[in-house]
């Protein structure tokens, strides 16, 4: 037998662990066709032949709300796997079965791997496995993926069930919907509407769930049937909202949960006698999420995270800097003066190297965050912030979007924007979309790290905490402003369920950390590299015209003409520090001319002109033309701010052989100081989201109007805040 099976399940159910257990090293990672969701595939030998195993993205549901769900669904429909192995977290049965039920509604053959049995045991949850299997009519195998327990039994069960015929599950969704479903099913079957791929009843349910993918496919397949179905749905929707004040989507979810509960209540799940014994988790939570202690602990933990990150990354960052310095030296001696050398040293090594130099910092930051995430603390944070969020007109679950976007540091606004999809109220959703880009995403981190290291090296962690607080307060205030002006509306309630604390595994944390660090490196080596090269070109061309070059030549001649030939010989032959005093003065004057020439060239370049033209207004915030170039480049991706500053300060460098880090260069440069640096930090927190995020906002908000708004509004806000800070700071300091 050689069958293809898929692993599916909720996020955090242990899917990856089980996949690794089953496939070992026999796996490879690719992408699902057309999208960039990762596809892990592997094989597993069994007694009856080789199994091909595909790891589906972890999802809670099978709606069309997120890319992962659509990918999972499409894969199941297109590939028709012989078995869906649904990994169910035994300690969280009700919620996990919600997905199981949906597989069964699709008519797929399901085997449940009831995972985390050890956790369920510890929490004294008893599950009658046989009964569960009988009532659901699917095989159920208990497993503890982390220990590899139940693997054999699971494989045997899969092998013996792959060939079985299955009966799709039909759940009752209440009389109104059921009657309509019957009618729709008939219409669909008679016309063969989408039935080549999907079950008729399932399509009908999806129409009720207002599933964008299916309704769009429907429109393309048969306009008439599609609008007939929509009419039926509309009628039921109106009726439901008039009689029960609910909508079909809600009804369907309620009935699915109802179905699950009716099974669980038949003695499938029971709690051991001392059920009211507070679980350890709850005990911890009484302190950690306490109204007064909670926030203090939260700030302390974040501060601890930053302290940990900055103190441990300092030394390896030094290594990285020396490494790139050494590379610069090698390139300097290997290449002859000219464009190529400038590209390699100023554009690539000093540009991209500046971004890569922060890899250790990123790594330690992610390590800490992975720990917080895996342990379950991040969920507590969201839980506590929920109260605050509602005061500012955001939905409680917006917190998740904020944390994903980098609320603590090192996230990304793109998935943050996507996470806002779970919000049902369009207004709350919009307010969330527009404010998540203020968080400290992983791309802003190197910018902050650079400036903090250069100008606030005494209090790195404190300043980082301050940055985080400013971004949160700023985001919340903007949300409040938006919610009481252009997107007015009521806040909707939200209940959050906290997962139990879990001691993270070292392996799990290392994998999470590495995945994210690797992504950072990959981005630096691709997107940032590309943009850096373009910006280098923009900072190099058109260069100086002939007369200007001649002017600098003349200055050199003036300097050298008055000097004896002996000193000139000395300059040619002897190394820097052994020069006589006279020769040294001459050399310094010549270097100054070189510097002036490079500086003039840079200023005359395309980017230089753009930067200079903005200087008229940005000077109020303390930014000179080079910073302006960096900020404009930062629209492509925020890391580019660092790489561009790296290139800009490398090009006018007096002595390229002298290895100094970018932060040292900034410290020594004119016009830079803590005031300018913090003004730039403020600007970076608030200004226009990067290009990708803007596109994402446009897609999620359904219009470019809001994307444009976020670019203009955020930049104006950032500028206002920076100017205010810089001007007041200049007076006070």
């Amino acid at each position: 037998m050689s069958a293809a099976i898929v692993l599916a399940g909720n996020p955090n159910s242990g899917k990856t662990t089980l996949f690794n257990e089953l496939t070992g090293a026999r796996q490879h990672v690719g992408n699902y066709p057309g999208v960039t969701v990762e596809k892990k595939q592997g094989t597993c030998p069994t007694e009856s032949g080789k199994l091909t195993i595909v790891d589906l993205p972890g999802t809670y549901s099978l709606t069309a709300y997120s890319l992962e769900e659509v990918v999972a669904r499409d894969f199941l429909v297109d590939e028709n796997p012989s078995m869906v192995v649904d990994i169910v977290d035994a300690s969280n049965l009700e919620r996990n079965l919600y997905l199981t039920v949906q597989f069964m509604e699709m008519g797929l053959p399901v085997t449940i791997a009831l995972n985390m049995m050890d956790v369920a045991d510890k929490r004294r949850i008893k599950i009658d496995i046989e009964k569960l299997s009988k009532l659901l009519d699917v095989p159920v195998v208990p497993t503890i993926a982390r220990k590899g327990k139940g693997k054999k039994e699971l494989l045997t069960t899969i092998s013996s069930h792959v060939e079985n015929k299955i009966k799709p599950l039909n759940i009752s969704y209440g009389r109104d919907i059921d009657t309509a479903l019957d009618k729709m099913e008939e219409m669909i079957e008679l016309s063969g509407f989408l039935t080549a791929k999907y079950r008729a009843r399932w399509v009908a349910i999806k129409y009720f769930e207002n599933d964008s993918q299916i309704t769009e496919l429907g429109k393309k397949a048969d306009q008439k049937i599609a609008s007939d179905l929509e009419r039926v749905v509309e009628k039921v929707t109106d009726h439901l909202s008039a009689t029960l004040d609910t909508h079909p989507e809600g009804m369907i979810a309620d009935h699915r949960y109802g179905f699950i509960n009716s099974i669980l209540k038949q003695g499938v799940i029971s709690y051991a006698q001392d059920r009211n014994r507070q679980q350890i988790s709850d005990k911890i939570d009484r302190v950690v999420t306490n109204q007064f202690l909670g926030p203090i602990i939260m700030v302390a933990i974040i501060m601890g995270l930053y302290k940990f990150t900055f103190s441990y990354s300092e030394i390896p960052i030094g290594w990285f800097e020396s490494f790139f310095g050494w590379m610069g030296g090698v390139a300097d001696s290997a290449l002859s003066d000219g464009l190529l050398k400038s590209l390699v040293i100023s554009g690539i090594i000093d540009g991209v190297g500046g971004v890569l130099g922060f890899v250790p910092l990123i790594m330690f930051m992610f390590l800490g965050i992975a720990f917080l995430e895996d342990s379950g603390y991040l969920a507590r944070m969201a839980f506590m912030l929920d109260r605050v969020f509602r005061m500012f007109g955001l939905h409680g679950s917006s917190v998740i979007a904020f944390i994903v976007s980098g609320g603590i540091a090192g996230g990304c606004a793109v998935p943050g924007v996507m996470a806002a999809r779970t919000l049902k109220s369009p207004k709350e959703r919009l307010a969330t979309l527009l404010t998540v880009p203020f968080m400290n995403c992983g791309a802003k981190l190197p910018v902050f790290a650079l400036l903090v290291a250069a100008f606030f090296s005494e209090n790195e962690a404190t300043v980082m905490l301050l940055i985080t607080l400013i971004s949160w307060v700023g985001a919340l205030l903007v949300a409040r402003l938006l919610r009481s002006t252009i997107i007015k509306g009521e806040a909707t309630p939200f209940v959050m369920e906290l997962p139990p604390y879990r001691l993270p595994t070292i392996k799990g944390i290392l994998i999470h950390t590495w995945e994210r660090t690797w992504q950072y490196i990959q981005k630096a080596g691709t997107v940032i590299l590309g943009v850096s090269i373009i910006l280098w070109a923009m900072m190099t061309f058109p260069g100086l015209d002939q007369t200007k070059i001649q002017e600098f030549e003349n200055q050199r001649s003036v300097i050298t003409s008055g000097v004896s030939s002996q000193i000139l010989d000395e300059l040619e032959t002897i190394q820097g520090d052994q020069l006589s005093a006279n020769a040294l003065t001459v050399k310094e004057s010549l270097t100054q001319v070189d510097f002036d020439e490079a500086h003039a060239g840079l200023k005359n370049s395309i980017a230089g002109r753009i930067g200079s033209s903005l200087e008229g207004i940005t000077k109020f915030a303390g930014f000179d033309w080079r910073t302006n170039i960096a900020l404009v480049g930062g629209f492509a991706a925020k890391e580019v701010v660092v790489s561009t500053l790296g290139t800009a300060y490398s090009m006018g460098e007096v002595d390229p052989e002298e290895i100094t880090s970018l932060s040292d260069k900034l410290k020594a440069a004119d016009g830079w100081g803590p005031l300018t640096a913090f003004s730039l930090i403020l600007f970076t927190i608030f200004y226009a989201p990067c290009f990708v995020t803007v596109v994402c906002i446009a897609k999620e908000a359904g219009s470019w109007k809001w994307a444009g708004f976020s670019v203009v509004f955020n930049t104006a806000l950032a500028f206002g805040v920076s100017v205010l800070f810089y001007q007041i700071g200049s007076i006070v300091l």
Partner: protein
């Protein structure tokens, strides 16, 4: 020689970046970690994987 190599590199960078941005614009790369964000909240994909349920 120098200029030719530099020219090729710059053109390649422009091509690569433009292609990237077009892809993102068309929505093909909107959720890709490599082209979009540095960190995705989960393995290879941009899903928030915090174990929090939005219960009604």
């Amino acid at each position: 020689m120098d200029s030719i190599i530099v020219g090729i590199i710059v053109i390649a960078a422009v091509g690569f970046s433009v292609r990237n941005f077009v892809k993102i614009y068309k929505g093909e790369g909107s959720c890709s970690c490599r082209e979009g964000c540095t960190t995705c909240s989960s393995k290879g994909a941009c899903k928030p994987d915090f174990s929090i349920v939005n219960k009604k």
